[in-house]
C-alpha cells in the first residue's frame, strides 16, 4: 500500500516537472483517484473499453459504465455514473471537443469524372459545413467500381477527386485546406465481383474536419 502511494507520488512529480509553468504541480502525497466512464455516441451506440490496473482487468461496455481506482489502489466497478454528473465533472473537457468530422458522398457517371445530376447540389453544402470547423481540413478521396484494371481505376479515382478539388476551389475554398487522394477500386461501398458496374461505388468522399 505504502509502496503503491510512493509510485504514484513519483509519477505525479515527474509529470509536474515536465509540465509548463502554468500547470499547478500536484501535492506529492495526493491520493490516487482515477476514473473512466464509457459514453454513448451521438447515435446512442456504445463501444467498449478494457481497463487494466496492476494485472486486473475490467471491461466497460454499457453506457456510462464507470471504473475507478481510488485511494485503496484497487480497480473498482463504479457502476453507472449519472449523465448529469459526467457533464459536471468533465464539462470543460467535453466543451473543448473539436467538431466531429462530417462526410459527404458525391456520385459519378460510369468511366467518367462527371458528377451525377443528384450529386451536384452537394458541393455548396461542403462550404456551409466548413464554417463550423476552425482551421478546417477537407479530405477528398476518389473511388471507382471494379470495371477496368486496378491501375486504370487508380488514375480514374484520382481524376474524380481532382475534379472535386477544382469545384471546391471554384466556390472559394483555399487549396491549402484541401487534400486529395485516389483509392481506386480498393474500397467499394458495395462489395462486388470484379468487372461489375456498380454506380454506388463510383464516388468521391469528402470529409470535412
Amino acid at each position: 500500500m505504502r509502496r503503491a502511494l510512493a509510485v504514484v507520488a513519483v509519477v505525479v512529480t515527474a509529470a509536474g516537472c515536465a509540465a509548463a509553468p502554468t500547470v499547478r504541480e500536484a501535492p506529492a502525497a495526493a491520493p490516487r483517484d482515477e476514473m473512466v466512464v464509457l459514453l454513448p455516441g451521438p447515435d446512442g451506440k456504445v463501444g467498449a473499453l478494457s481497463v487494466t490496473h496492476e494485472g486486473h482487468q475490467q471491461t466497460l461496455d454499457a453506457p456510462y459504465a464507470t471504473a475507478r481506482v481510488q485511494r485503496q489502489g484497487q480497480l473498482e466497478d463504479g457502476g453507472r455514473m449519472a449523465a448529469e454528473q459526467v457533464q459536471q465533472t468533465f464539462a470543460r473537457a467535453l466543451d473543448a471537443q473539436p467538431a466531429r468530422p462530417v462526410r459527404f458522398i458525391l456520385y459519378f457517371l460510369g468511366d467518367s469524372d462527371e458528377f451525377t445530376a443528384e450529386s451536384k447540389p452537394e458541393i455548396p453544402k461542403v462550404l456551409k459545413e466548413i464554417a463550423g470547423h476552425p482551421s478546417p481540413e477537407i479530405i477528398v478521396v476518389g473511388h471507382t467500381d471494379r470495371v477496368g484494371s486496378l491501375t486504370y481505376n487508380d488514375a480514374l479515382s484520382l481524376r474524380r477527386a481532382e475534379r472535386v478539388r477544382v469545384q471546391l476551389e471554384k466556390i472559394g475554398i483555399p487549396s491549402e485546406q484541401i487534400r486529395v487522394a485516389g483509392r481506386g477500386e480498393r474500397e467499394p461501398l458495395v462489395p462486388t465481383e470484379d468487372e461489375v458496374a456498380e454506380p454506388r461505388n463510383r464516388r468521391v468522399e469528402i470529409t470535412v474536419r
Binding site: A15, V23, P40, S50, T89, A93, L94, A96, P134, S135
Partner: protein, 149 residues
Amino acid sequence: MRHGFAVVLVLALLAPVGVGAADDVGRVKVVKGGVTIQRSGGSLPATVGMKLLEGDVIATGRDGSAGVTFNDDSLLSVGPDSVLAIDRFAFDSTTHAGRFDTSLRQGTLSAVSGKIAKQSPDAMKVRTPSTILGVRGTEFVVRAAPVTP
C-alpha cells in the same frame, strides 16, 4: 519567455516549407485559456490550426482547455490543469492500420476514437498514472487526479 517566442517564430517560418509536414499527427482545433505544447524541450503557446507531432505534450493551465483532431479522425480534448502526452501515433490512410498511444498524466480527457481503433481493436491505448485503457471504438472520458476544484 522571449526565447519561447523565438522558437515559435522559427517554427512558423519553417512550417510552410513542409518540414515535418509528413509527420504531423493532428491539429489543434480548440484553445481556451492558457494552453501550451511542449516539444523537444521547449514550450510553445498552443494556437488553433497548430500541427501536432508525435511526442508533443499538451498542457493546460487552471483556466485552460484544448481540443485536437487527429489524422485518423480521433478527437481528444482536455480540461483545466491537464497534461496529455502523445506518445505514439502512426496511421496508414490506405489500410487504416496504426497505433495510437497517449498518456493522461493528470486532469481530464474526453475522447472519441477514430479509424485506428475502428480498424484494429486495442491499437489505441490511453494510459493514466495507474491504468491502461484499451479502446475498442468508442467515446469515453477519463480523469486522473489530482484535480482540485
